[in-house]
């Protein structure tokens, strides 16, 4: 993997590590919004929101729109797609193995129940 992609992933994960920033992204998923509009649902100051927006911008997750007055923020999909593809690939590999483990554990439990039953029957026969 190319180093610039690795660095970008790192910035993306850092940006996503905060619930406010994730909420901002969720809001932007339904359309662009100004800083004031973005600050509204949160009980934090506009400078604090601006700080979060800077982190998101550095990570390439959002960009600033054309309107010089409103300076609307909008969602940029590429880094998110990279990050989720990367994690999903890793997760999927584990999940495939885990599903096999589910099957193996079922088998082991059936075997141990069967042998327990077998032992009980043998004991009962002995007692008779």
């Amino acid at each position: 993997m190319k180093p610039d992609v690795s660095n970008r992933l790192d910035a993306t994960f850092l940006a996503l590590a905060d619930p406010t920033r994730r909420a901002i992204l969720a809001r932007l998923a339904s359309g662009e919004a100004s800083v004031t509009e973005l600050a509204e649902p949160f009980a934090i100051s506009q400078p604090a929101i601006s700080k979060h927006l800077k982190v998101l911008e550095r990570a390439g997750l959002i960009s600033v729109g054309q309107d010089a007055q409103r300076r609307p923020r909008r969602l940029e999909g590429t880094p998110l797609a990279e990050a989720s593809a990367w994690l999903e690939r890793y997760r999927a590999a584990w999940e495939t193995s885990f599903q096999r483990l589910d099957g193996l554990l079922d088998e082991m439990q059936r075997a141990s129940t069967a042998s327990k039953r077998g032992r009980q029957q043998t004991m009962r026969r002995k007692r008779r």
Binding site: F13, S97, M108
Partner: protein
């Protein structure tokens, strides 16, 4: 009370770690066996379909070694992991080092051994397994996971390459 996790979950507790969590409908002791008896391990720890595990040697005691190696049925490509057990607490915890052997598929990024901590927690009839991999540095983690640490598969690289080529450059 924590909820059980029916689908593998991957998180990054810090910039040098990756954590995988999954619950199983089985008692702790049984899950522990499936993780520590080589003849059981090689039946499930295989990654995507089409790979087999020709080498699975495990001497599960403190200071004991293990060696895992996978092979692609399709093209014979191989890679593996090996290391030493540092902590062995049946049926709840395992700690081992993990050195990556890129074999014929991986990258040649030089990295230190990772430390892997596996915990088994039973709740009712469920056991939740948490695997925490500490790569020692952010660079090592990025390199390991990005090049496909557990699924170091040529096919995945090709998919990723294609994906990255399709993405417009920022």
């Amino acid at each position: 009370m924590r909820t059980t996790i029916d689908r593998a979950e991957v998180t990054q507790p810090s910039d040098r770690e990756v954590q995988v969590t999954r619950s199983f409908r089985a008692p702790q002791a049984l899950v522990y066996r499936a993780y520590t008896e080589p003849e059981l391990v090689r039946r499930w720890l295989l990654g995507p379909p089409g790979w087999s595990m020709p080498v699975c040697e495990m001497d599960v005691r403190v200071g004991g070694r293990y060696r895992w190696r996978w092979r692609s049925d399709e093209n014979g490509a191989e890679f593996g992991f090996s290391g030493t057990f540092r902590e062995v607490r049946p049926p709840s915890k395992l700690v081992h080092t993990e050195a990556y052997d890129p074999g014929t598929v991986g990258d040649d990024f030089p990295r230190n051994d990772a430390i892997v901590t596996v915990t088994f927690m039973q709740e009712g009839d469920r056991t939740t397994v948490t695997t925490l991999v500490d790569f020692g540095s952010k660079q090592a983690r990025d390199a390991a996971v990005a090049t496909g640490m557990t699924d170091g598969m040529e096919q995945s690289y090709q998919l990723l390459d294609r994906l990255l080529d399709e993405q417009p450059r920022a």
